[in-house]
Symmetry: C2
Subunit: 379 residues, 2 copies
């Protein structure tokens, strides 16, 4: 079953007439998710409960979209437009139906947020409401959740493949990363290797010294100096992303503090792993991980100031229950959800370590699809 | 004057109390535009008409945001949050004011669209309305237009610099691009060079053979074959992007059809250039370019199926009047607006050529800051 057919099935379950994606300048990831190609100009995708799917691309992208749908064996009519008026007229014909799902989230600043569905911008929504005043526009969050949270066999195959490729590239870091290279040069080389087989899932974080203590550091022109070097990076091949963090030590022997923190994080990650299982509350892995760090004498409340991980899939930050001690409710993890497991310890202004691996939730036991080195690699 | 101060000045003119940007997973480009750093997690930026600017980042990004604002000499209070509730409470204190500008567009499917401002998603907007029921939320389009359409001296300096760097890299293509390399390998090498000095402004389009006829082709694993090779690529350094298309010929001598089309496009581009001047309607360059192509016997209605260009700046597709014969009204170009000039001719399923240069609109005469080779380069 292709993604259009799966979405059609979910539409039947929620009594929707269609799922409409309006995308411009890549502002809704579900366009590439469904089309299998990045369409950059304004376009619309309409998945109909009756199977009469439509794609409305601009003329200059119509040939590319048609070819991609053919490759994906999707049966959808492609209706190109030449002018804004033509686009609006074609769209109007599709959406004057009782109930249409759009990509917007609900309860955005609350614990029950469905922000993973929050894409359509306000102005676009207003224009659609004006175009179809009698249509009940509902949130597409249930469709997106059902399509993306639990991964298919095909997606898990893509995941194992992309994780393997990433590890092979990460292993070569000590061959090229040297003291006095800039962070950006290391990133460039990594992403050059990625580009040959896929593309970066997100801009790599390369942090030397105190930069390793900023979990979302923007890779800079700073030269690599002796001490911790944190690399957080992911690759995308086909429909899946990897997301891995390794923390290296540059020059000489790692300090005792570094080794202690590294070992504690490695073990804390192992502890958490045992709770990436079907039916376990998504809070538990984080709680157990933090308990272990506390046992080892680390002030995790102060030093580990982010969630344990996040869902991983078509996007590096994918759809699924939050995996954090602060996650709302007691949402259970499900078999074949995919998550990162990434505890970290950070001394702001000094240095930090994060060890991140990717994990498939299992019935009894998880499958760890990447593996941080047990001992820090010295460059 | 920094960007916060400029925006504050525009707020005074439109009687707004503040400009609020709520950004999550990089879904509003104005966050990086203002902060000077990419903050990936949920955060808010509030530019206040009274100068009491605020940034609300998540704890894990607070240090990074503070450092970047300091480097940009922006005076804004940074208030980190630990939980969704804390974020919402802090936000509420800021926005309960009479008139707050948000990034949404108006008249989206009409000729008068301000889609360049259409960022805030529906669910986020609903949550803000609930949080501040008496606030009049207005579109930030006038602020964004005033900040971004006409470029500052500093931005033009960045533009000249990034264009020079891109050309230097593009010139090396014949040194490494060979028949039987894949399109992706060429892209990887190009972007490797970019990553050392900046980052790709958008994913490079490398199209061999019939792929050169898809203007927004997604670079593939196809091997480069003899004939046309189209490369559309851009680099970003500091606050400005380049966007350039060169069409090469691979192996042997270019066909007569190729040379004819190349020459006609080169001249058509020169013709269009003379109309990138202050006060000229943004329709005129395109009309003149097409007239020239018609004179040379090309059926441009069929073969040139996109606009002549687009505004260029902080983003590859930037803010400014549309430069197309189909542009609404008779909006004049203004001195120091920056545009691409990119006529193309495409024979779908066969091959295509596009020549694209970047141009600063001048008082009497434009400044072309990139330059396609007059004769096709043979690889």
């Amino acid at each position: 079953m292709n993604k259009f057919e799966k979405a059609q099935q979910i539409l039947q379950e929620i009594n929707g007439d269609g799922w409409l994606i309006v995308c411009n300048e890549d502002n809704d990831i579900h366009s590439r998710y469904l089309l299998g190609v990045a369409s950059h100009a304004l376009h619309a995708i309409f998945i109909a409960v009756d199977g009469n799917h439509r794609v409305l691309p601009v003329v200059m992208e119509a040939n590319m979209v048609r070819n991609s749908l053919k490759n994906k064996r999707v049966n959808a009519e492609v209706i190109p437009f030449n002018s804004m008026k033509e686009f609006a007229d074609n769209l109007k014909l599709l959406i004057n139906k009782p109930k249409i799902a759009l990509d917007f989230g609900e309860n955005i600043f609350e614990d029950t947020t469905t922000s993973y569905a929050d894409y359509i911008p306000v102005g676009t929504h207003l224009a659609l409401q004006k175009m179809a005043p009698n249509t009940d526009f509902i949130s597409a969050a249930p469709i997106i959740y059902a399509l993306r949270s639990v991964k298919s066999t095909e997606e898990l195959k893509d995941l194992r493949n992309v994780c393997k490729a990433t590890i092979e590239i990460l292993k070569t870091v000590p061959d090229f990363a040297k003291k006095d290279m800039t962070e950006k040069e290391v990133m460039a080389k990594l992403e050059y290797e990625y580009a040959k087989v896929g593309k970066p899932a997100f801009p790599a974080i390369v942090g030397t010294g105190e930069h390793s203590a900023d979990p979302h550091h923007n890779t800079s022109n700073k030269k690599i100096k002796p001490g911790p070097l944190l690399i957080d990076t992911g690759l995308q091949i086909d429909d899946m992303c990897s997301d891995i963090t390794w923390t290296y030590w540059v020059e000489g022997n790692p300090s005792e503090e570094f080794i202690d923190a590294y070992n504690a994080l490695y073990q804390a990650k192992e502890v958490a792993n045992t709770y990436y299982t079907d039916g376990t509350s998504s809070r538990v892995p984080s709680i157990k991980c933090r308990e272990y760090l506390a046992e080892k004498g680390f002030d995790h409340e102060k030093l580990f100031f982010h969630g344990l991980g996040h869902a991983l899939g078509f996007e590096a930050h994918d759809v699924g229950p939050r995996i954090s001690r602060a996650a709302p409710g007691n949402t259970p993890l499900k078999e074949n959800m995919v998550y990162t497991n990434e505890p970290g310890l950070y001394w702001i202004g000094k240095w930090g370590i994060r060890l991140e691996d990717d994990v498939i939730v299992g019935k009894e036991k998880c499958e760890q699809v990447t593996s941080n080195p047990k001992d820090p690699i010295i460059i």
